[in-house]
């Protein structure tokens, strides 16, 4: 529907049915929540539940969060799975510090959340003493359903949060 000089009388009309508009924030949140690259910091019994969640029966891949990267610079969600001792704590903090923004942390199970059953001299009483935590997954260890619930909650949190980009 062009006029004789090749110009559309209504610029919007030519795009009818071919594009839809959205907010860039929403688009970026959607992209971020379905492209999680995880860093599994696995130290203890919760690791078995993590493996179970990642395997075919529960298939964490369905949620766009399948790829474990054992390099902090290539990952954006840190799963702290298991007990963290005070000796290990500085290393965990180093891993967190090396991750690129935006980054998220999941405390997986009772030990990572609050020290679990280990109320003693050697265990860190929750990783939130050294790094910020976005999602806590309860259980000792949590079942895979609880883990997936935690993952979905993190994805909701990512979608709904203010997206920052650029420098």
């Amino acid at each position: 529907m062009l006029t004789t000089n090749g110009q559309s009388p209504d610029p919007g009309a030519a795009l009818q049915g071919q594009v839809f508009t959205t907010r860039f924030d929403k688009l970026l949140g959607w992209a971020r929540k379905y492209s999680l690259f995880q860093y599994p910091f696995v130290t203890a019994c919760c690791g078995m539940e993590f493996m179970s969640t990642a395997c075919s029966h529960y298939d964490i891949d369905r949620f766009g969060a399948a790829f474990p990267r054992f390099s902090p610079r290539q990952s954006d969600v840190l799963w702290v799975v298991g007990t963290v001792s005070q000796k290990l704590a500085p290393l965990l903090k180093t891993v967190y510090d090396q991750m690129a923004d935006p980054k998220y942390v999941i405390a997986f199970g009772a030990c990572a959340s609050c020290g679990g059953p280990y109320d003693d001299y050697s265990t860190l009483q929750g990783i939130d003493l050294i790094i910020p935590v976005d999602i806590y997954i309860a259980g000792c260890p949590p079942r895979p359903e609880a883990v997936l619930d935690g993952l979905l909650k993190l994805q909701t949190l990512i979608q709904d949060s203010k997206q920052e980009w650029g420098s």
Partner: protein, 160 residues
């Protein structure tokens, strides 16, 4: 308690008279309590002449408030005869010290570091006596009975 002395007891007593302070043997549980200063010589005798090639384990016990308070416990095994022998060293010192067995068994290196770390027993002539499970800045020895169970210490920052 059986009064019957066993061959290893007799052999040690013959070579190092007076070094066996106490002993018991019942149901195959054969234990010698020996003089701490002689433990390296006794272990060498056990390894080279009596066939106890294998240092199974090495640990320490805090019997507070009993005196003597500390015991270092060595578990030896003869892999040919499957015989086992437990040797103990007692100390009432605040900082007990016994000779290191690292010249005889390399595994003693780690086992003794663990005992030093958690119980505070010094091993003389150990090549690398520093903490192995806890971080170096930790103060005290947490498996001692007078260490508070939840006695936490300030977190240390990451090291360069």
């Amino acid at each position: 308690m059986s009064d019957e002395r066993f061959p290893e007891h007799l052999a040690i007593d013959k070579r190092f008279p007076g070094s066996v302070l106490d002993w018991h043997a019942q149901h195959g549980d054969r234990t010698l309590i020996v003089d701490g200063e002689r433990i390296l010589d006794i272990a060498r005798l056990l390894k080279t002449e009596l066939g106890y090639h294998f240092l199974v384990d090495l640990a320490a016990v805090d019997y507070l408030p009993r005196k003597p308070r500390f015991e270092v416990v060595y578990q030896f095994m003869n892999l040919d005869t499957k015989a086992r022998l437990r040797v103990k060293v007692q100390s009432d010192e605040l900082h007990p010290e016994v000779p290191s067995l690292t010249p005889l068994w390399p595994i003693a290196n780690w086992l003794e570091r663990e005992v030093w770390d958690l119980m505070g027993v010094t091993f003389r002539d150990h090549p690398n006596l520093k903490r192995i499970l806890l971080y170096e800045e930790f103060e005290g020895h947490p498996l001692r009975k007078d260490y508070p169970r939840t006695g936490r210490q300030p977190l240390i920052g990451p090291k360069d």
